[in-house]
């Protein structure tokens, strides 16, 4: 496999403020790589270093095996970028904006550009300042996609898009990957990554806390189980089962969280006369919150 993005101990600090610390990434050609983390975790800082908009305090970043600050133009020639927040030229229409960015980059196929405009349902005749937030986002997306770049770096790409346009966007991403192009997608919405990514890196407070396949992250998954009993729930029997935690009782209802195999819980429930059984596999988002939210809460608990 070929690395399209590679970072080695990448660190960026803003004086006393934390930026990113020792970030190691390796994004392979042809994959959709999710870069996940809460607001302010360091996602945009990492992207800005990759694009040479800011320079690292230490460490290295390579895109297409070119060090990001050595020849940024050579890197930029092969990528498409959508910033998380951007403004463009108020007086230009959507079409003029796309024409301008097409001229700066070169290599835009007008037919493909037109198909993107149509699929995103964008009216390119309006001035940029007249667009709604979602339509501005569409202009940014078309500008990033229109030259079929080898690498797409997209920072919060679905912000402001309605669900139908989001579907179109993910369909276009799948097409890009089918053409062996690479996508680096930053988001704080885990369901987005769950839906489109092969692998994800999770960044928290400037540090990468996990890099794995989406499937593997789901292995972290627990089951959220609800058991209803005719009388008082036998809490103690369940609390001692391996992997069970967060046992809560509400009248005749017993709620618990099961990490790993659920069979012992099912067997105990059958033995103790359960009247109703509900088990739900959590989303990646819930998994993430359970895993990393718990870690985040830990210091607070200790203080208490």
């Amino acid at each position: 496999m070929t690395s399209v993005i590679r970072t080695e101990k990448l660190t960026k600090s803003y004086g006393s403020h934390r930026g990113i610390v020792d970030v190691d990434l390796d994004v392979q050609k042809g994959e959709v790589f999710g870069f996940l983390g809460p607001n302010g975790a360091g996602k945009t800082t990492t992207i800005r270093v990759l694009l040479d908009l800011i320079r690292p305090s230490s460490g290295k970043a390579y895109v297409f095996d070119i060090e990001s600050s050595a020849d940024p133009a050579a890197i930029h020639r092969r990528l498409g970028y959508l910033p998380g927040e951007f403004t463009l030229y108020d007086r230009l229409t959507g079409r003029q904006t796309l024409e301008y960015f097409g001229n700066l980059r070169g290599g835009v196929d007008p037919v493909y550009q037109a198909s993107l405009i149509e699929r995103f349902d964008l009216d390119p005749s309006r001035r940029f300042r007249e667009y709604s937030k979602g339509n501005k986002q569409k202009v940014g997306l078309v500008a990033a996609l229109q030259h079929r770049p080898e690498l797409l770096i997209l920072d919060e790409p679905t912000a402001g898009l309605d669900p139908l346009v989001q579907q179109t966007f993910f369909a276009i991403l799948r097409e890009a990957v089918a053409e062996e192009r690479t996508v680096f997608l930053s988001s704080h919405i885990l369901s987005e990554a769950e839906r489109s990514c092969d692998r994800v890196a999770i960044i928290r407070e400037g540090r990468i806390v996990r890099v794995d396949r989406v499937d593997a992250l789901r292995d972290l998954a627990h089951h959220q189980v609800e058991l209803r009993f005719a009388g008082d729930p036998p809490t103690a029997e369940f609390a001692t089962i391996a992997g069970v935690s967060d046992v809560q009782v509400e009248d005749h209802l017993l709620r618990l969280r099961v990490l790993g195999a659920i069979t012992p819980v099912v067997q105990a429930a059958a033995r103790l006369g359960v009247t109703d059984f509900l088990s739900r596999e959590p989303s990646l988002e819930e998994t993430f919150l359970a895993q990393y939210g718990r870690e985040a809460d830990a210091p607070t608990a200790e203080v208490k």
């Binding site: 908009l53 930029h76 970028y81 403004t87 030229y89 007086r91 003029q96 024409e99 700066l104 770096i153």
Partner: protein, 558 residues
């Protein structure tokens, strides 16, 4: 025990907001607006107070004796009526207050009015266009209160600046004036002068404020500014007498407070009209949809002018509207001046006494020639050209400050090329502005029977100076931060102007005066060029762009 998550059942009590943050800080819209205006207050108050001290020192040093004061008094009735009316009645020119009012009063009033126009046109309309007003307006109080608090905050800052001006006048007369020559300015006179300046400013600011809900920020500011110049000029020309009755300069013609001439009813009337305009603005804002303006229907520019072919053409396309605005404004002013200077020169040339008096006031200018008069005015217009250059720098800087630069630099365009493209575009904008200015000067000179050759070629000095200011701004933006580039460029214009003004007036060492690049430009309107100044301007322009291009490769993009 499981913790409940969600909204609390009982809302937390609202904390008492300290009074201090209500009047300065984040405790109220008024406090926030006052806080946001602190820099503009410092600049305005510094300029008004500082200039009043400098002018007082200058006048006292140039005309220190009773004989020289008598010479100035001879100006009464001897100068062209257009000048008399434009600058106000020349009463008590032999005193510090009279001379100060006549020569600089209109500059103080219109400069302050420009501040008021920019502040009051932008305080609501500008925020509405950015969308930040939506959040403020969703707070639990009405739109009227928002508008009133915003206006009150500006009036507070204006009042403080006027207080500084009044103190500056009193202090200047006490420190530098000669009481035996009638120079002492009483506190009441200084207050009267500050009220004259302040009420004229609020009148035009109020006009902008009343128009802003309809026309948006730029439309209302533009119309108020044009009307300000028009009503000032109307006050000086018989041909425009019918509209002069609408001019606060006309209403307040009899109020020359610094010589003890008061017309309090006129002051009160002007204040009343200003308050009515502000009230109209508040009501318009309250009743209209937030942020929905009729706008001024400007003709759309063709794609070729908008420039989507490359970075230089795009940057020039962004600069073109303001280049046209500055060029047309300077061109109209140039045409007006050039049409008048022939008459002024011949009147002074026919009176040796008047000629010597003017020579004493305006050292180094041959005011018996039309070219000399043009040169005098061009010295003043250099300030406008410098500020125009600062706005071109601001437009270039907006790529980074507004958040476009990230997308631009994610293309194969390298940073240095972006700076060079922006610099070339700013220089091209200056060319457009200068050509329009030269055309205005040429047309005015032709209509006034003045030779147009030197006047047109001499107009290039405006462009050279502006190019140097662009160089300063782009160097600062490239090396340091674009967010302060335009401010530093504007500061360079002000400092240059003050050095050029103060150094000769205070008899400072010549090297101080030589620090101002405007002291090295010769007198191009009479055909005298100084190659050193021309070379310096070109070098600063090109060098500044080169330094900016180098600097931006070495720093992070904001």
């Amino acid at each position: 025990m499981a913790a409940g998550i969600g909204a609390p059942e009982i809302a937390a009590p609202v904390n008492t907001i300290p009074f201090r943050s209500r009047i300065y800080g984040f405790g109220s819209i008024y406090g926030k607006t006052v806080r946001d205006s602190r820099l503009s207050l410092i600049i305005a108050a510094g300029l008004l107070g500082g200039m009043s001290l400098v002018m007082a020192a200058g006048v006292s040093s140039i005309f220190p004796t009773p004989a020289s004061r008598l010479e100035i008094d001879k100006l009464i009735g001897s100068i062209p009526s257009s000048m008399v009316n434009l600058f106000g009645k020349p009463i008590g020119l032999g005193t510090l207050g009279g001379y100060f009012t006549w020569k600089y009063g209109a500059i103080f009033a219109m400069g302050t009015a420009l501040w008021s126009i920019m502040a009051l046109s932008g305080t609501l309309a500008g925020e509405a266009s950015r969308g930040s007003l939506d959040i403020v307006a969703s707070a639990p109080f009405g739109k009227r209160r928002i508008a009133v608090e915003k206006v009150t905050a500006h009036l507070t800052m204006l009042g403080l600046a006027m207080a500084v001006l009044a103190v500056g006048c009193v202090a200047g007369s006490t420190l530098f004036g000669d009481a035996s020559l009638g120079d002492r300015i009483a506190p009441l006179s200084a207050i009267g002068f500050a009220l004259w300046v302040g009420f004229i400013a609020i009148f035009f600011g109020g006009l902008a404020f009343a128009l802003a809900p309809l026309l948006g920020r730029s439309g209302s500011a533009g119309i108020a500014s044009v009307l300000m110049v028009l009503l000032w000029v109307a006050n000086g020309f018989d041909a425009l007498a019918p509209i002069a009755i609408l001019s606060p300069f006309h209403w307040l013609a009899g109020h020359i407070a610094l010589v003890g001439m008061y017309d309090w009813p006129a002051v009160a009337f002007t204040g009343l009209v200003a308050v009515v305009l502000l009230g109209i603005g508040v009501e318009m804002f309250t009743r209209r949809d937030l942020g929905v303006t009729a706008g001024l229907s400007m003709p759309g520019l063709p794609t070729i002018v908008l420039g989507v072919r490359g970075s230089t053409s795009r940057a020039f396309g962004e600069q073109l509207p303001r280049a046209m605005s500055w060029g047309i404004g300077l061109g109209l002013m140039g045409a007006l001046i050039a049409a008048l200077v022939g008459t002024m020169a011949s009147q002074i040339g026919n009176d040796p006494n008047l000629s010597s008096t003017f020579s004493a006031i305006f050292k180094g200018f041959n005011l018996t020639s039309a070219g000399g008069w043009l040169q005098l005015y061009v010295q003043l217009l250099l300030i406008a050209a410098g500020f125009a250059a600062a706005t071109f720098v601001s437009k270039w800087a907006s790529d980074e400050n507004d958040g476009r630069l990230e997308m631009i630099l994610a293309t194969p365009l390298v940073r240095a090329r972006w700076v060079i493209a922006g610099g070339i575009a700013a220089i091209l904008a200056i060319v457009v502005m200068t050509v329009l200015f030269a055309a205005g000067i040429g047309l005015g000179a032709a209509s006034g029977g003045v030779a147009v050759g030197d006047a047109i070629t001499g107009s290039a000095v405006v462009g050279l100076y502006a190019a140097a200011i662009v160089g300063v701004g782009i160097a600062v933006g490239g090396v340091w931060r674009t967010s302060i580039a335009a401010e530093i460029a504007a500061m360079a214009v002000l400092v240059t102007y003050l050095i050029d003004l103060v150094a000769p007036a205070l008899n400072l060492p010549d090297w101080v005066h030589q620090l101002a690049i405007t002291a090295h430009l010769g007198q191009p309107m009479v055909g005298v060029w100084d190659p050193v100044g021309v070379g310096a301007c070109l070098l600063i322009a090109a060098g500044g762009i080169a330094i900016g291009a180098w600097g931006v490769t070495r720093r992070d993009i904001d």
